[in-house]
């Protein structure tokens, strides 16, 4: 029996992977030593592996296209899938620490590419610890959007340093984002929502988007509607707390 024909972890009707084979723990320790491969520098990221249609052969230098959106802790990849068709020419990547979840997203993208020829070629996923290895994947000012959707709240004060939005980690996000690039955060935990907002407000390299700008941005609506976590919150009638900020030049730099 050829392996590719019948994949027992995939749904027979849609060909998509079934989540029940990819259940993982909700939490992963971001402090532990990593044993997955990490590119030495952004130039070592193999784009042909992630986006074979855009980069037909390995080590192709003439295509200067670079990843512009990063979904940090992409989970099961709902947002990426929606963004993929909304921005078909933009390369985007999901970063997820949990091995099984990454595997699911990978299968999901492959299945979607098969089912919809020509589509979903601009989206990929990688297993990594984004709290440690952002600089290994992205050059300075490479990204235009970064997403931190429904991150692990880490309630205990002792564990606050494990939060993915923290004053010192924002330095690295500001490095990877271009000036004018946008950082999207959302959570259903009020305490964490306040924490993320105050971290961003107090950082000299970020400023909040105005109400008008938020209304005009089509991505904002996707934050709660497209993600699995967001749908779960909506199902339970919960509240969400978004914080959306723009990367700016720090004020002591402007003449």
């Amino acid at each position: 029996m050829p392996e590719t024909e019948v994949n027992p972890t995939h749904s027979k009707s849609t060909g998509l992977p079934r989540k029940r084979f990819y259940r993982a723990r909700a939490h992963s320790n971001p402090l532990s030593d990593s044993h997955f491969p990490v590119p030495i520098s952004p130039s070592h990221v193999d784009y042909s592996l992630h986006y074979p249609q855009f980069f037909p052969s390995a080590g192709q230098a003439n295509n200067s296209k670079k990843i512009q959106f990063a979904d940090i802790g992409c989970g099961f990849g709902g947002l990426l899938i929606s963004l993929s068709t909304l921005f078909p020419e933009t390369l985007m990547i999901g970063m997820e620490l949990r091995d099984k979840v990454t595997e699911y997203v990978k299968e999901r993208i492959l299945a979607l590419r098969v089912a919809n020829p020509g589509q979903y070629q601009n989206v990929s996923v990688v297993r990594t610890n984004s709290m440690k290895y952002i600089p290994n994947y992205f050059e300075k000012a490479q990204l235009t959007k970064m997403f931190f959707l429904f991150p692990d709240p880490h309630f205990k004060e002792k564990n606050h340093r494990r939060r993915v939005i923290s004053p010192h980690l924002l330095d690295e996000y500001a490095y990877a984002l271009e000036v004018g690039g946008i950082i999207y955060t959302i959570t259903d935990v009020e305490e964490l929502g306040e924490w993320m907002k105050s971290c961003l407000e107090n950082h000299p390299m970020f400023e909040a988007l105005s109400e008008k700008e938020l209304e005009a941005d089509p991505v904002v609506k996707l934050l709660s509607s497209a993600t699995e976590e967001g749908q779960k919150v909506a199902r339970n009638g919960g509240q969400t707390f978004p914080a959306i900020f723009r990367r700016i030049v720090p004020s002591d730099q402007t003449p």
Binding site: F21, S41, M131, N136, K140, H168, D171, E172, Q253
Partner: protein, 423 residues
């Protein structure tokens, strides 16, 4: 495997450190909790005075260095205290406590700030602005300015123009951060990351060119290379595979991969040469740095004849043209002598001469200096090889990630649903 487990249970061996005053007024050696200073002008051991009211070091000192002008000296380590000394009369005027163990220190070029890094990757700053070092400063609090996410920071360095603070870590990374005019508000703006090393970064040094104003950064690593960087862009300019080029690796196989980690480096002769200390090497590798061509190449190896001496720390005095070297360790297991230190010097870096190791009686300060810094004049070579070996093991345990065999990892993942049906 078992042997390794055992080694980690031992008390942590701390390498001996050496720091040389920029105008060679004094030389300091830190070994375990001991700080030994010899004043070369007075030709006498210095007795340290503590005005700060804080305790003296009670655990291994992990970082000790002079400021660029030589007025300040900082020591810090496993006891989580940072002591700031005025070198004029060797008074400690400020003791700062840290939440975690301290593993690196740096003093800003103008001497206004002291920075230190802890084992959890956070860099802290102590403000000394406007302070002249004559009276005790009392309680000072440190402020966190930047962080490497939970990675051990191995070195901190200020760029010679004072614009950047450079931090290196065990995760192969060097971060270059803009050191703002108001550093107490944090160092948020990252200028670049210097990425290319494939093991922990163990040491940093700046090279300044004579003709061009640009300073380049040098780094040494557990991957046995010394690399040259342009810090404004983070670009890797050149890589020098020191252990291969110096002929240290010709016969050894894969098993000894980590045998030739770079332990320290410093620039000599107006940055034309770089002295490099390599693990297990009884000698010093001299790498020449061509600033205009932006290249590095091994110039020669200065071997140490007659005595088993593996340098693990270096210090250079530009005004005298002398390279100071140290080997030794504290808290040595299975040894009659718990802490050992041995100091040697190389002189003759001028172009006409061959650099050579100086005999003990010709060392500046003579035997008196050696007695102060080493604790004894007589030396037995073999114990130092043992000490160097212990330092090497300690360094590996601390900075190299543990590798678990593939079978072990697969065994733990055997119940994974998504893998069940796949070949």
């Amino acid at each position: 495997m078992e042997e390794r487990e055992e080694a980690t249970k031992d008390v942590e061996v701390a390498p001996a450190l050496i720091a040389v005053h920029p105008h060679q007024r004094s030389v300091a050696v830190a070994i375990g909790p001991d700080l030994r200073v010899f004043d070369l002008h007075a030709s006498a051991a210095v007795s340290l005075v503590d005005d700060s009211g804080g305790p003296f070091h009670s655990d291994s000192i992990r970082a000790a260095r002079f400021g660029a002008k030589g007025k300040l000296f900082v020591s810090a380590g496993d006891d989580k205290i940072v002591k700031i000394w005025s070198t004029e009369f060797w008074r400690c005027f400020c003791t700062v406590s840290s939440e975690k163990r301290v593993c690196a220190v740096a003093i800003s070029i103008d001497g206004s700030y002291v920075c230190f890094a802890d084992k959890f990757g956070v860099v802290w700053i102590v403000d000394l602005t406007g302070y002249d070092g004559n009276q005790p400063l009392g309680d000072k609090k440190a402020t966190a300015i930047l962080s490497h996410y939970c990675s051990i920071i191995t070195r901190l360095e200020f760029s010679p123009d004072g614009r950047f603070i450079v931090s290196a870590d065990r995760d192969f990374k060097i971060r270059v951060t803009v050191f703002s005019k108001r550093p107490l508000n944090g160092a948020h703006e990252i200028q670049s990351f210097c990425l290319g090393h494939t093991e922990f970064v163990s040491c940093l040094a700046f090279v300044h060119g004579q003709d061009c104003p640009q300073d380049f950064l040098l780094s040494g690593s557990g991957d046995s290379t010394v690399r040259l960087w342009d810090i404004s862009s983070g670009a890797l300019l050149d890589t020098c595979e020191v252990s291969i080029k110096a002929g240290l690796l010709e016969s050894s196989g894969e098993a000894q991969e980590n045998d030739h980690a770079i332990t320290d480096l410093c620039t000599v002769l107006d940055s034309l040469l770089v002295a490099v200390a390599v693990q297990s090497l009884q000698g010093i590798v001299l790498v020449s740095c061509n600033h205009s061509a932006r290249t590095l190449s091994v110039a020669k190896v200065v071997p140490f004849a007659g005595e088993a001496f593996v340098p693990i720390g270096l210090g250079y005095c530009p005004s005298e043209g002398i390279l100071w070297m140290i080997t030794g360790a504290s808290s040595l297991p299975r040894s009659s002598c718990p802490s050992l230190a041995r100091v040697r010097v190389i002189s003759g870096f001028d172009v006409e001469q061959e650099p050579a190791v100086v005999e003990d009686d010709k060392v500046p300060g003579g035997e008196k200096l050696l007695e102060t810094l080493q604790g004894t004049v007589s030396v037995n070579g073999n114990v130092f090889l043992e000490a160097a070996e212990a330092v090497k093991t300690a360094m590996c345990n601390l900075l190299i990630k543990k590798q678990y065999p593939a079978e072990n990892r697969d065994f733990r993942k055997r119940t994974r649903n998504d893998r069940k049906f796949k070949p």
